[in-house]
Symmetry: C2
Subunit: 135 residues, 2 copies
């Protein structure tokens, strides 16, 4: 108990076994301890971590960025100042994404109301909603 095989972790996290081995090679998850047989033994936390990776990927973060985000933790090797600066940079990335998504949502909502017959649409509201933006 308190230790899962790779297949269990994969099932719980909703990914394939090969994906977990891939993430291990890529340094996104720590190498777990092994049994004498060589089988990997994961703590339950591994599931949480893999689910996090999955979500972050859906949000447009690359594995490289995710690795960076995951490495943001307090340790003796990095200064707090350094962590703060990097975390703040990620926060601002995230805020930008939220802002753009909010605009897209408003545009789509406008489209649905137009479809309810409330407004005649001359141009594409999806494109209009994002006009005049700097990336």
């Amino acid at each position: 108990m308190g230790s899962l095989t790779i297949g269990k972790v994969a099932g719980l996290a909703g990914v394939g076994v090969e994906t977990i081995r891939f993430y291990e090679r890529e340094g996104l998850i720590p190498k777990p301890p092994r049994k004498e047989s060589g089988y990997r033994q994961y703590p339950e936390e591994a599931v949480v971590r893999i689910r996090f990776i999955k979500r972050a990927k859906d949000l447009g973060f690359s594995l490289k960025e995710i690795r960076e985000i995951l490495s943001l933790r307090i340790s003796s090797e990095v200064t707090c100042e350094d962590i703060r600066v990097r975390a703040e940079a990620k926060i601002s990335d995230i805020e930008k994404k939220i802002g753009t998504l909010t605009k897209m949502k408003r545009a789509l909502t406008k489209l649905t109301s137009a479809c309810m017959g409330e407004v005649p649409v001359s141009r594409c509201p999806i494109l209009e909603a994002l006009e005049g933006e700097e990336s």
Copy 2:
């Protein structure tokens, strides 16, 4: 005037010329009219559309999904009902993304406060903040 070369569009949209030709092949942007020489002539709207594609990509939408979003417009070929249904599905995707980003942001903010010396952090707040979630 009112018509741009592919290079101009690329510059204004912040992508390469080859990317635009690629998007055209993939059906993400309409085929523009040509001069007798064969040169593409883009309306200024093309820039807006390409910038939209760029942003949507950053937010984790695939080109396939972006093509779908961009095809959501009122025309004689699709019923309003159909558009409404598809737009609402996209809206709910977007809301989910916003929700997850908001959680990530809160987690990172917590991390920065911890770094300001306010709280001692025992476990990783980034992972904790997303615990117990279903995708």
